[in-house]
């Protein structure tokens, strides 16, 4: 009986990785999925926080893909290790703070470590040549294979025919003829293949699973680093960048103001880490205060928070201020006029 070769598939939850794994399964390869959690994955978080989205079904698309494929999925927390990738990307950033090429090299390297530890034979990804401007170009695809250390153990089933032969092809573990030659940004070939395989429901085919590709999120991250004079972050920092309005009235403090009930509830969990402001006399948001503030700063912040409450047009609004270093106290202020909330405060 011939050996069944084993491949680890990088599963993002998107269509391409789903199809690449399916192409391998069709060739009789034993496939198990790996999904890396960087902390910046769009998957799940925002939907979990925001109440207004709770009528939509929640699912983790990587788990869903694995279930459609009938394969195991190993979700690996790389939050701490990923910091160096984001802070010091050798190949630089894309349009925003997305270090896509370094990210792909890092993930393939981690997958290489995984196959070595788990006695698997090779790695597959859903990459398609020419599809992404940074990590999926003809020039950069060999860079991923080389710098990750995977070399010819990295097979891209969806565009393998456009690339040099890999070890699984040379050794006859897989049939090159049955691999594909997709290229470019046209998604129709993938959609047609999905139909052939009977996949009718799949995650956004255009990709976009990382907050770092988002312009607004990237601006908030850069603002955080500038305010702290340090290019570093903790998990709580990157979570809070996904929540609320971020306003910076002074360089040394920032207000995070909840936009709806779900965000307020989520932010409540951070009130032991940050000073906070909450309206008392009217319905309104919870606000976290990030930075060193004095009593005058907090009074001014209370006026800003009042602006976002149901009492914004009243003469006065009463709020409770919870400082980390003293007992809570109430304060009554006149809400800031709309014109006085400066546009350049918005991060």
């Amino acid at each position: 009986m011939s050996k069944q070769y084993k491949a680890a598939a990088l599963i993002s939850g998107g269509l391409d990785s789903l199809l690449a794994a399916k192409v391998m399964l069709e060739q009789g390869i034993h496939v198990e999925g790996i999904n890396f959690f960087t902390g910046f994955c769009v998957e799940g978080h925002t939907a979990a926080i925001r109440k207004k989205q709770q009528d939509k079904p929640k699912r983790n698309n990587a788990l869903w893909s694995a279930e459609q494929l009938g394969i195991k999925l190993h979700i690996i927390d790389i939050v701490d290790e990923y910091k160096d990738v984001l802070i010091n990307p050798k190949h630089g950033y894309g349009a925003n703070m997305n270090p896509c090429l370094d990210c792909k090299i890092f993930m393939v390297h981690k997958a290489l470590e995984w196959i070595q530890e788990n006695d698997f034979d090779f790695i597959i990804t859903g990459e398609v040549m020419g599809q992404r401007p940074m990590s999926q170009r003809k020039e950069t695809m060999p860079v991923v294979a080389n710098e990750s250390g995977a070399e010819d153990l990295l097979l891209r089933p969806l565009c393998a025919k456009n690339l040099p032969m890999t070890k699984p092809e040379k050794e006859g573990w897989v049939e090159r003829e049955k691999l594909l030659a997709f290229h470019g940004r046209n998604r129709k070939p993938q959609m047609a293949l999905a139909k052939d395989f009977g996949f009718e429901d799949y995650a956004s085919p255009a990709g976009g699973c990382c907050f770092l590709t988002d312009e607004n999120y990237s601006k908030k991250l850069v603002d955080l680093w500038q305010a702290r004079s340090s290019r570093d972050y903790e998990m709580d920092d990157i979570m809070l960048l996904k929540v609320g309005r971020h306003l910076r009235p002074k360089p040394y403090y920032k207000l995070i103001i909840g936009r709806e009930e779900g965000e307020n509830k989520f932010m409540q969990g951070y009130t032991k880490m940050f000073s906070s402001i909450k309206t008392v006399s009217h319905a309104g948001p919870l606000c976290l205060v990030d930075g060193a503030t004095d009593k005058d700063d907090l009074e001014y912040a209370a006026q800003i928070v009042a602006r976002y409450s149901q009492g914004k047009n009243e003469d006065t609004v009463t709020l409770q201020i919870n400082r980390l270093d003293s007992e809570p106290y109430e304060i009554t202020v006149k809400p800031l006029a709309a014109d006085d909330v400066k546009q350049d405060w918005h991060v």
């Binding site: 959690f37 998957e43 979990a48 983790n60 788990l63 694995a66 394969i71 979700i75 927390d77």
Partner: protein, 74 residues
Amino acid sequence: MSEHTLDARRLLCPMPVIKTQNKVNELQTGDTLTVTCTDPGVLNDIPAWCRINGHEVISASEKDDEIEIEIKVC
């Protein structure tokens, strides 16, 4: 066979799934694990993880914004 618990409150998916996965990997067949969470996304994600990895969800319940999922390691 022994009973185990895991506190995954305040964590957002996929962290509760990752914590569950890592804990289950330390357990023996027949052991049970009760995971307590606050992210409602776990009601889909932990059962999905169990299905694809061959473990059994014995029960899932929600009370006062906390979710408890009991898993049997298979």
